[in-house]
């Protein structure tokens, strides 16, 4: 799947949040969407999947414009959105959360079944009968990713997956992202915590006040003191790749 976003303008009432944001994610590519608090990262993702429709611009998924399509269209075409925070169906069990997601995209076939999700996330299998609202932050993150995977997507939009996670879980999350990449899934990763995104993607966009301020490789971002200060990253971290 190839995602091309062009000149999106999105409003919340009168407030003009996205002011012509554009980006491209190639098939199987991992791309970072960086930007400070309130820059519009979440809004951009919501506009891509149709939860907060953009007023103008285009969202092309393999050439098809989904800007005004309802959210289920993008999901059924294989573009999965993993929202930030504790967004699970809290009154349903872990297994029911996965089951609902699997059944919501019945036509999508692929390698991901509930069984495979439990194999990849054995901790999830242990709590499969527990109510999703009672899971720990890390378990909920696993469930959110597993829930996206059972729809057999071709691309995943991850909104702030590290938020509120313990460092050990963040490390695990990095491994899961590696797995998605090996499966040839495209990834768009929105992060405030630039260090994590920089370690797990090769290319990124910097969103500032609803506009793309910069687009380039991670090396370019690290090499620019100005960009680092815009991201709030003071020093060069240990590179993991």
């Amino acid at each position: 799947m190839r995602l091309v976003v062009e000149g999106l303008h999105t409003y919340y009432g009168a407030s003009h949040v996205l002011q012509g944001a554009s980006l491209v994610v190639e098939p199987g590519e991992a791309v970072a969407l960086l930007g400070r608090n309130g820059a519009g990262k979440t809004t951009l993702m919501r506009s891509i999947v149709g939860l907060t429709p953009a007023r103008s611009g285009s969202v092309l998924v393999d050439g098809r414009d989904l800007r005004r399509a309802p959210p289920y269209r993008s999901a059924r075409l294989g573009l999965a959105f993993v929202p930030s925070g504790r967004r699970v169906f809290s009154s349903l069990s872990v297994a029911e959360n996965l089951e609902v997601a699997r059944r919501s995209c019945p036509r999508r076939r692929g390698p991901w079944t509930l069984k495979r999700v439990y194999e990849v996330f054995p901790k999830l299998a242990e709590v499969r009968t527990r109510r999703a609202g009672h899971l720990s932050g890390g378990e909920q993150q696993m469930l959110k990713i597993g829930r996206a995977l059972v729809t057999n997507p071709e691309m995943v939009l991850l909104d702030e997956p590290t938020e509120g996670l313990a460092p050990a879980v963040v490390e695990e999350l990095g491994q899961w992202l590696g797995l998605l990449t090996r499966e040839n899934l495209g990834i768009l990763l929105a992060e405030q915590s630039a260090a994590f995104a920089l370690a797990h993607t090769a290319r990124g966009y910097l969103l500032e006040k609803g506009r793309m301020r910069f687009e380039g490789t991670m090396e370019e971002i690290w090499d620019s003191a100005e960009l680092r200060s815009a991201l709030g990253v003071a020093e060069h971290p240990n590179r993991t790749r």
Binding site: G50, Y72, A75, P83, S90, L92, V100, R103
Partner: protein, 285 residues
């Protein structure tokens, strides 16, 4: 007009009567579909009752149809009405949806009140029950009880099938987190509109029976706001699911019967206050 209102109030009030209990049960299941299962608390659910009631009466009076044909038509009409307005009102949630439905009921009632062709100059549409022109012989009290019982059974069976269906699954997650449901591939808007329309069918069918029971119809009778309150309260008090609304209907029926026998003149005020109290207690749990 006053006669019509009096008759309506009386039929609704007759404390302790079985038909009232069964009517409450149908209305509670109607509200359950949209308020309980989908999580959209409608405060104007009486609009379907009124639309179904009027359509049933008009089909009998103007078209000379049998009640047993007119009532399903009324239910169908209410469902179609729900389909038509659902997409619009279901764009907003929570308090906004409550207000939108309240306005919908008020506006529909106002339109019907000022519609010259709807009833005679008196403003009361009467279903003839004597003479040669009566479309259907009026059943006795037991006959109405039987019709309401059938409706209550069909409603409850329908809800129990629905909660196990794919639509039921969709509604459960929509209630939990609507945005998320959409992002996962669930067709949110159609599911909500379907629930609203089905809830309209149930209330519309009940309205049709009620219309034939009361026979002298005016917007004040068929769009009584107290009915909307009863529907909300039954599910809040009894709980959603399949059997919860039935529990709630019994509770409200006992409540209104008790108050009616103690202080008939204060009945509406007391019932309304008690309902508010029940809702507050339930909310605080």
């Amino acid at each position: 007009m006053a006669v019509a209102i009096g008759a309506g109030a009386l039929a609704l009030a007759r404390p302790g009567s079985l038909d009232t209990l069964l009517l409450y049960a149908v209305l509670a299941q109607s509200w359950n579909l949209i308020g309980g299962l989908a999580g959209y608390a409608s405060f104007g659910q009486v609009v379907f009752f009124g639309v179904g009631g009027y359509l049933t009466a008009l089909a009998m009076v103007r078209l000379g149809l049998s009640f047993y044909l007119a009532m399903p038509l009324g239910g169908l009409g209410a469902a179609l009405f729900g389909l038509a307005v659902g997409d619009l009102v279901l764009r907003v949630r929570g308090l906004y949806f409550a207000v939108a439905t309240l306005v919908l009921a008020g506006a529909t009632k106002a339109v019907l009140s000022s519609w010259p062709g709807l009833a005679g100059p008196s403003g009361v549409l009467t279903i003839t029950t004597v003479g040669l022109h009566q479309p259907t012989a009026r059943p006795g009290p037991l006959g109405f009880d039987a019709v309401y019982l059938a409706l209550a059974a069909v409603s409850t069976a329908g809800v129990s099938v629905l909660v196990r269906s794919r639509l039921g699954d969709s509604l459960a997650v929509i209630r939990d987190d609507e945005d998320l449901a959409g992002a996962l591939g669930i067709a949110v808007r159609p599911a909500k509109v379907a629930a609203f329309s089905l809830s309209g069918a149930l209330a519309g069918l009940a309205g049709g029976v009620y219309a034939f029971q009361v026979t002298a119809l005016s917007p004040a009778v068929l769009f009584a706001p107290l009915l909307s309150v009863v529907m909300v309260a039954a599910v809040v008090a009894g709980g959603a699911g399949v059997l919860g609304p039935l529990r709630g209907a019994v509770l409200l029926w006992l409540l209104s019967a008790g108050v009616g026998s103690l202080a008939p003149e204060l009945r509406d005020v007391l019932v309304a206050s008690l309902i508010v109290a029940v809702v507050l207690v339930e909310e605080g749990r």
